[in-house]
C-alpha cells in the first residue's frame, strides 16, 4: 500500500481550474518533491491532501484512508509545515510543542520525551522557554518542522519550507528532515522553488504546471528525459520560461500588513 495515492484529483474555483485531474502515488518512506511555477496548483493540492480544502472531484488516499471521509483519523497520520508560519508567536517554543502534543493526543510521558528529543535535534532546546516572536525565520521553521514530527506522523508535508532562509539554514534543515525520514521511515511530500534542494533530497519528483502533472520520475530520469545537465534546466524545459504573475489576493495584502507589524 502506498503512503499517498491520488487519482484524477480536481479542484475548480468558479471557472478557474487550479488542479486538473492529477494522479500520482508516493511510496512509504519516500521523499517526494512536487515542483512547479507560481500558481501551478502545488499549494492547492497540499491543502486538499491535508483536509483544508475539499476536492471538486477525484480520490485521495493517505495511508489507505480517504481524508474527506475519515478526517480525524487521516489528520492523526500526517504532519504539515505550511508556507506561512503557523506557530503561536505569543507562546514559547516549548508551549507550542505542548499544545501540538495535546491536540494530537500524544500521551504526556511520550510528549515530554519526544519534545526534548526533537528540540535537541533541531537545536532549539536551549531556547525552549523563549517566546517564538523572538525567534529568527530559520528558528521558526526548525520549530515548525520539529513540531510536525512530534506525533510521529507517517507522512510529513512541507510546503516551501525553506522560503526566505539562508543557504546554511536550508542545508541544515534538509539534513534534519533526511535523518528523521531515515530513522522513523516517515514519508515526506515537499514543494520548493529551489531545484538544487529537490535534486539533492528527493527520491522522486513530479513537475506540475497549469494544474497538470507534466513529468514525473527520479531527478536523474527528468534530466535524461530533457537532455539537461541540471534539474533547473530540466524544469525550465518542461514548464517554459514565461513568468507567472499571480494577482494579489486579500491574503497577500494581509501578509504584507502582518509583516509590517511583526517585523
Amino acid at each position: 500500500m502506498s503512503a499517498i495515492r491520488v487519482e484524477n484529483l480536481e479542484k475548480t474555483f468558479g471557472d478557474l481550474t487550479a488542479v486538473n485531474k492529477i494522479s500520482f502515488q508516493v511510496e512509504k518512506g519516500e521523499i517526494f518533491a512536487f515542483l512547479g511555477p507560481n500558481g501551478a496548483g502545488k499549494t492547492t493540492t497540499i491543502k486538499m491532501l491535508t483536509t483544508l480544502l475539499n476536492p471538486t472531484s477525484g480520490k485521495i488516499e493517505l495511508d489507505g484512508l480517504d481524508p474527506t471521509i475519515h478526517r480525524n483519523e487521516a489528520r492523526q497520520r500526517f504532519g504539515i509545515v505550511f508556507q506561512d508560519p503557523s506557530l503561536d508567536a505569543e507562546q514559547t517554543a516549548y508551549e507550542n510543542m505542548e499544545l501540538h502534543g495535546v491536540l494530537y493526543k500524544v500521551p504526556h510521558k511520550l510528549r515530554v520525551q519526544r519534545t526534548e528529543q526533537l528540540l535537541k535535534l533541531f537545536e532549539l532546546w536551549e531556547r525552549r522557554n523563549d517566546y517564538v516572536k523572538t525567534f529568527s525565520g530559520g528558528m521558526k521553521r526548525r520549530l515548525e518542522i520539529a513540531r510536525g514530527f512530534l506525533h510521529t506522523p507517517k507522512i510529513l508535508f512541507l510546503d516551501e519550507p525553506t522560503l526566505g532562509l539562508d543557504p546554511q539554514t536550508r542545508n541544515q534543515l534538509w539534513t534534519h528532515v533526511k535523518s528523521v525520514n531515515e530513522s522513523e521511515n516517515t514519508t515526506v511530500f515537499l514543494t520548493t522553488h529551489y531545484m538544487d534542494e529537490a535534486d539533492r533530497v528527493a527520491h522522486r519528483i513530479a513537475i506540475i504546471d497549469h494544474g497538470a502533472i507534466v513529468a514525473m520520475g527520479t531527478p536523474q530520469e527528468l534530466k535524461q528525459q530533457t537532455n539537461s545537465e541540471s534539474l533547473e534546466q530540466a524544469f525550465l524545459a518542461l514548464t517554459g520560461s514565461t513568468i507567472r504573475d499571480e494577482s494579489a489576493t486579500s491574503q497577500d495584502q494581509l501578509r504584507r500588513f502582518a509583516q509590517m507589524w511583526r517585523k
Binding site: 491543502k47 483536509t51 478526517r71 489528520r75 508560519p85 503561536d88
Partner: protein
C-alpha cells in the same frame, strides 16, 4: 476535553502576556465612563433621573465585554490567513471542540476586562445597591460574554480581510453598543428607536446588569435571562456551523 482546555488556556495566556494591549483596550471604556459619566451628570440630574454615573457604569462594563468578546472572535482573522488557525484545523480534533475552546477563551478574557472596568468604576465612586448583587452581575457578565464571543466567532469564520473587519466594527458592533440603552434610559424613546433597541441583544444584557447592580430594570430578570440564553444558543450554533465550514 483536553483540546478545549489547551485552546482556552492559550487565549488566557495571550491576554495576560500582552500588558500593552490590556492597557490599550481599557482606554475607551474608561473614557466613556469618566467623560460621559461625569460630563452628562448634571443634565441627567436636572432631568430628575438621579446620578448618571451610577446609571452608565453597568452599561460601560457591558460595552467592555461586548467589544472584547467580539474582537476576540474577529482576531481569528490573523490566526486564519497565515497563522495559528491552520495548525488547529489540521489537528485530529473535531472542529466543534476548537470552536468551543476559542469562544470560551475569548469570553473569559472579556469577563476579566469587564471586571477591570468594574473595579475602576468602583474606585471612581460607583456603588452597587448591595454588594452581594455582584454575584448575579457576574453571572450576567458571563452570559453577555458568551453571546458576543459566539457572534465574534461567527464573524471571524467569514471575514477574510481588514475591510471586512472594519465593516463589522462600524455596522454591527458600534450599533449594538449605541442602541442598547447602555448610555441612555429606554423610557420615552421615539417609536423607531424602541423597536431597534428591542431587537438588540445587548439591551437585555445591560438591563439585567442594571437590575442586578442598581435595581433599575425594564424587562425583568427572567425575560433578560431567557432572551440572552436563546440568542446565545443561536449564535453558538451559527458560530459552530460557520467555523466548521472554514476552508483555507
Amino acid at each position: 476535553m483536553s483540546a478545549i482546555y489547551i485552546l482556552w488556556l492559550r487565549e488566557l495566556k495571550r491576554y495576560v502576556r500582552s500588558r500593552a494591549q490590556i492597557a490599550a483596550s481599557l482606554g475607551q471604556p474608561l473614557l466613556y465612563l469618566l467623560a460621559l459619566g461625569f460630563g452628562l451628570g448634571p443634565v441627567f440630574q436636572k432631568a430628575g433621573q438621579g446620578s448618571y454615573f451610577q446609571f452608565v457604569a453597568p452599561g460601560v462594563v457591558s460595552m467592555t465585554i461586548l467589544f472584547s468578546s467580539v474582537f476576540s472572535g474577529i482576531a481569528m482573522l490573523w490566526d486564519r490567513q497565515f497563522g495559528f488557525l491552520k495548525e488547529t484545523l489540521v489537528a485530529p480534533v473535531p472542529r466543534i471542540q476548537i470552536m468551543i475552546g476559542r469562544t470560551v477563551g475569548g469570553a473569559t478574557v472579556a469577563v476579566i476586562q469587564g471586571l477591570l472596568v468594574f473595579v475602576v468604576a468602583i474606585i471612581a465612586g460607583f456603588r452597587p445597591h448591595h454588594w452581594v448583587s455582584f454575584f448575579p452581575a457576574l453571572l450576567f457578565m458571563m452570559l453577555i460574554a458568551i453571546v458576543f464571543a459566539a457572534l465574534g466567532t461567527a464573524f471571524g469564520s467569514i471575514v477574510q480581510d481588514m475591510q471586512g473587519f472594519q465593516l463589522i466594527m462600524n455596522f454591527m458592533v458600534l450599533p449594538i453598543f449605541f442602541l442598547s440603552g447602555a448610555l441612555f434610559p429606554l423610557e420615552n424613546l421615539p417609536k423607531a428607536l424602541v423597536i431597534i433597541t428591542r431587537i438588540d441583544p445587548l439591551t437585555y444584557g445591560v438591563d439585567a446588569m442594571r437590575g442586578a447592580l442598581i435595581s433599575n430594570i425594564q424587562f425583568g430578570f427572567s425575560v433578560d435571562t431567557i432572551v440572552l440564553c436563546l440568542i446565545g444558543t443561536a449564535f453558538l450554533t451559527a458560530g459552530a456551523y460557520l467555523f466548521s465550514r472554514i476552508q483555507l
